[in-house]
Amino acid sequence: MSFTGQSATGPDESSTTRSSTPAAGLVRKAVVVGGNRIPFARTGGAYTRSSNQDMLTAALDGLIARFGLQDERIGEVAAGAVLKHSRDFNLTREAVLGSALSAETPAYDLQQACATGLETVLGLANKIKLGQIDSAIAGGVDSASDAPIAVSEGLREVLLDLNRAKSLPQRLQVLSRLRPKDLAPDAPNTGEPRTGLSMGEHQALTTAQWKIAREAQDELAYNSHRNLAAAYDAGFFDDLLTPYRGLNRDSNLRPDTTLEKLATLKPVFGKNLGAEATMTAGNSTPLTDGASTVLLASEEWADAHELPKLAAVVDGEAAAVDFVHGKDGLLMAPAFAVPRLLARNGLTLDDIDLFEIHEAFAGTVLSTLAAWEDEEFGRTRLGLDGALGSIDRSKLNINGSSLASGHPFAATGGRIVASLAKMLHEKGQVDGRPARGLISICAAGGQGVVAILEAL
């Protein structure tokens, strides 16, 4: 790894005064105006009959209503879904056409597994920074309830050959290749194509490797539920969420869960690890349906439209790991992306006031933090003098995260960006500089995308 970054021993002088990327000054700011999502629903629940397009349109319409964007031609809308029907090739554009936005608003789909939502924010923010567009809506949606089901490879080949066959005998010959097993449908799963292991099984290996205790995972899950419930009670989501199909809170939220209850759950992943099996349904995210959107703009556009400016999108970084050969855990890419991003911006973990680390599994968050605290990992893998550092847990996921809210894959990035932008705006200044927030999202394929936001 060629990375040579700032050591964890302290920020350099400029990092406390400089507030943006090295390119700041050359490009303009991209700001988060606000966001809207629909409550997330456990799969098979309230949104069982809702398609990705339905949910994304609903999330868009709520955003439009909140910010008065009816008939507005937005610079560009980008969103995506991880589980996507082939007929939804233009999902985002179709959602725009079904919304109250101007039909002249262009849109594109993007897909980067669970990092989809955050990557739409970063891509669009970059376009705004470069002056290509003045406004944008980033988003994501996923439905595990309305997942696409494909026909088997055997049946698919037969159907395609049948289409190419020219005569009746040819058609009969093609059909004769069909076997009963070909009629079984091919449902999507979260297994990694190259290892055959599910994401949970992968994480179970990583969790065991970093020796993350069951109690620590349960505590993280407990805090997630408690924090999210408190945020709802305080009205934090009143201007971040629009109810949908009878839900006005995330249906996975268990405000009354306890550490004792979580401790009673049996492990569901890594069962072959014996005593080291620590991952339960309580400290893993369930399959979830939902959609989220984020309104981004240049400062000028936000001002001209009399809209709020919550936070600036400062910078972002993607990383990937070689999980196929077991060099790193499947979901450990953010452990590499974050140090690179911090170094590029002259920052350390101590310069971050709010951490939003996506809780794919409690074990993912804790493995990442353990890696950052590990001296050897810091030296050998990150190229630092020692450990990257540790974080103040009271700054982590303070309004709850995916373990409580659920995790509709592509919608998680938008949820986090809008919430963090609001939290940063409320926090305002810290030590005479704008409050800073770090987002970390792991993704299938051994990938991760991270970003820094800064209060306005």
Partner: protein
């Protein structure tokens, strides 16, 4: 939508059957639509005072077909009865009886509007008797009119003339289809304040209006009507109603504010949103309200307190914030939704009626506080309105409730919205501290 019975008896065989059996014969009311003529025929102006002459001249200047003398058997769109110079009850005879022969010629959905002076400022008992007499006359005539025709009165306070902006504003409202479900009501014009709109089709152009409880029913109708009249809308409702609220906001091209109005800081949040997003705040419509019906003997603290908190305490607190705000100083308008339950009472609604009675008391007492900033505050008291809420009333009770008024039908949410839009306009600037009933002259209550 007009109820099925009204549709059935409005034409063909249903009309004949209803007439022969002496059944109620409601008609489909002529409701306002942009571009519609003010009245369905010529306007007869009765009365010999200078005020009557001036009014006739004004109506002519509006390009209306005005008559000063009745032409026998000519269908009339409206009869305007100017009674602004009554000294004794005997003075009623001439104008009233000359108008009487024309009542038969009133077209379906025609209008009778009286203009008289307030008894409160009368010089002596005879003048007061004559002026108060108009009240009884008007309400009785309203009950005699048929086929969707209505009668309403404008009462002029001391110093207000038939040419005052709000006298003319109220006249336009009562003549038009905007007042379709207002019947048998008298509205007092208190001052010469107010201004007629440059464009009668966009009386709220340039105004920023907040409507609470706007996610559905009457609130959504108010938002649509204010939008049609040219206002920029902020629609407010509780977060749990956010999906319906978003749909309304997108329909009226406004912004949605998910907010529980019973929160301590609701008033400030409303002001901040309106001023921050739209640069100003001119109109606040207190529509949000809840019912938690129970006989008083079975009433519990939760039911009582929640109704008082949402229906009146929240309005009082928001008004305090508005009155304290520098952004609510330029001829601001507040309109509250009251209820005929607050006037006449309703079994099972002690809490609701107390809150709605409270709204009327609040409106009267707040009017003087707004006077120095040329503002106004009024209430609209709906009678039986066809909404999702009244659709849940059992069939027989509902059928009786909806027929027990002079128009023999329930009102539409839009009818309430029209009255509110009028009171929110500058044309009603001289009307303040009033309660206007939109009830088709319901038999219950005053």
């Amino acid at each position: 939508m007009t109820d099925k019975y009204t549709q059935f008896v409005s034409r063909g065989i249903g009309k004949d059957v209803a007439r022969k059996l002496g059944l109620p014969q409601p008609v489909v009311l002529r409701r306002y639509q942009p571009g519609q003529s003010l009245v369905p025929g010529p306007i007869l102006v009765q009365g010999s005072s200078g005020g009557a002459d001036e009014l006739a001249a004004t109506l002519l200047s509006w390009d209306l077909d005005v008559r000063r003398h009745a032409v026998p058997r000519e269908k009339l769109g409206a009869i305007v009865l100017v009674l602004d110079e009554l000294d004794r009850p005997e003075d009623l005879e001439k104008p009233v009886l000359s108008a009487a022969s024309s009542v038969r010629d009133l077209a379906p959905n025609g209008r009778v509007v009286t203009l008289s002076r307030t008894p409160a400022s009368a010089q002596g008992p005879a003048a007061a008797a004559a002026r108060q007499g108009v009240d009884g006359l008007l309400r009785s005539l309203a009950k005699e009119l048929r086929a969707g025709a209505t009668a309403n009165g404008i009462v002029l306070a001391e110093g207000v003339t038939t040419a005052s902006p709000s006298a003319l504003g109220a006249l336009r409202f009562f003549l038009s289809g905007r007042s379709a479900f207002v019947d048998g009501q008298l509205l007092t014009v208190a001052t010469g304040e107010g201004q007629l709109p440059a464009d009668p089709e966009k009386p709220l152009a340039g105004k920023v209006a907040v409507v609470t409880g706007a996610a559905r029913g009457i609130g959504a109708a108010i938002a649509r009507t204010l939008h049609r009249d040219g206002a920029t809308l902020v629609v407010v409702d509780i977060p749990a109603a956010g999906d319906h609220l978003a749909a309304v906001a997108n329909e009226v091209r406004g912004t949605a504010l998910q907010l529980d109005i019973s929160r301590e800081d609701a008033g400030q949040r409303i002001i901040d949103h309106a001023v921050g997003r739209h640069g100003r705040l001119d109109i606040v419509i207190h529509n949000a309200g809840i019912t938690r019906d129970k006989l008083l003997a079975n009433m519990d603290q939760g039911r009582w307190n929640s109704v008082i908190a949402v229906n009146i305490a929240a309005q009082l607190r928001i008004n305090e914030a508005l009155l304290a705000s520098e952004h609510f100083r330029n001829a601001p308008r507040i309109v509250s939704v009251a209820s005929t339950s607050g006037i006449a009472g309703n079994r099972g609604q002690t809490n609701y009626a107390a809150s709605k009675g409270g709204v009327m008391g609040m409106v009267r007492a707040t009017a003087p506080l707004l006077a120095e900033r040329h503002g106004s505050i009024n209430a609209v008291a709906p009678g039986f309105i066809e909404t999702e809420m009244t659709a849940r009333i059992p069939f027989a009770t509902r059928e009786i409730a909806r027929r027990l008024n002079s128009l023999q039908q329930g009102g539409q949410p839009g009818d309430v919205a029209e009255a509110i839009a009028f009171l929110a306009s500058d044309a009603a600037g001289g009307i303040t501290g009033e309660v206007l009933r939109v009830c088709g002259q319901n038999m219950v209550g005053a």
